[in-house]
Symmetry: C2
Subunit: 200 residues, 2 copies
DNA sequence: AAATGCATGTAACGCGTTACATGATTTT
DNA sequence: AAAATCATGTAACGCGTTACATGCATTT
């Protein structure tokens, strides 16, 4: 097996400990339940499932459906669980950050406050949407606490997202105030220039 | 010119609006000033500078130094500034998140609370270090407000990092409490099992 | 004597997204 | 009639890290 550095296969194994699923299901699960801190495209999921099956970490079973196309349902094997536990025992590395909004804000002087104000406003809008989602997740998790023994861990992860979103919103409010002050200042000086020109 | 989706070249142009720099300088600047929200390796910086020079967006000038090897000092050109402004006018896309710590925490039930506790503790330690750095950056920026007209924008970006770090630390404290409770619970039930075994 | 910093660059490799292909059913 | 959903997969391409190469000066 080639040296692998990413966690794309392990996230599939992890989700398959909850219940057997198809590649399509896994894509849905990722998007809806861990999407706020992890993401996989189908271009990753399907080939990785094949590799996992070839390595004996999962097994596939074809399920026929009326009307809809066949499903390949994958289950984790004992050696798959062993692999997952090994991976879990490795210290997670801090990720390298890349925040394009902050990058454009950092160079905001080259564009003027009007441009970046819009970016921050729409970012805040998005974050407010996330806040709603987290509240919903919180309710669902609380009601399913005893159905899933892993739920306490899921809550901790969701709580991280919640606190981050709240911090983002506080930042956005503060930053919009500052940007609007700058805009006002620029308008005043622009009017000043106009008057000076008109008076010429 | 080929279609480019990433911002690796634009970050170089942006930093060169502050002052002319060598590839090495740019690497240092990135690490020390925007490193908390953006990152570039030398394997990206040097080839991208060449491409920028070939496209006429920067110019290179060889500077000789005593003892040390020659430096290629790059300056942004007017068309470089135009390109930067165009890029700044494009709405920044929200990045796809990948947080390995949260991923391992999410699957924490497969490893047990002891394992993930260590991960969160060391994460909190790192974050406390960042907090110190942000306080230092804040001091430096305040003292250099009139030397650099872009400083207000830099402060906004730094403030984002500050608020995020504070949120992370609050989360870590909360989560460590919950994990330690779970550990205690598991110990009690492990002792219970032991006693039952001993009594057999 | 060894390690670190200055300084520039290239090559290999893996990761990940996007686009494409196919085709039926259900909803708008 | 068109779009969205279910469902699986492949291929191309760009991005980005890591390792490697070189070599002098300074610090430990």
């Amino acid at each position: 097996m080639a040296r692998r550095s990413s966690s794309s296969q392990e996230v599939l194994l992890g989700l398959l400990t909850v219940e057997p699923m198809s590649g399509y299901d896994l894509g849905q699960s990722i998007r809806t339940s861990i999407g706020f801190f992890w993401n996989e495209s189908y271009g990753q999921i399907y080939p990785n499932l094949k590799q996992l099956a070839a390595a004996g970490l999962v097994t596939a079973k074809t399920e026929k459906q009326k009307g809809k196309p066949d499903r390949q349902v994958y289950s984790i094997t004992p050696s798959g669980r062993a692999h997952l536990e090994e991976w879990l025992a490795v210290e997670p590395q801090p990720e390298v950050p890349r925040n394009e909004l902050l990058l454009k804000l950092f160079f905001g002087a080259q564009a003027g406050p009007e441009t970046v104000t819009g970016y921050v406003e729409r970012m805040a809008q998005r974050e407010r949407g996330y806040l709603e989602k987290f509240r919903q997740i919180e309710r669902e998790l609380l009601s399913q606490m005893r159905r899933y023994p892993d739920a306490p861990y899921w809550r901790m992860a969701a709580r991280f997202g919640q606190l981050e979103v709240e911090a983002h919103l506080r930042w956005a409010e503060e930053t919009l105030k500052a940007l609007r002050k700058m805009e006002a200042g620029r308008q005043r000086s622009a009017i000043g220039k106009e008057k000076r020109h008109a008076g010429k």
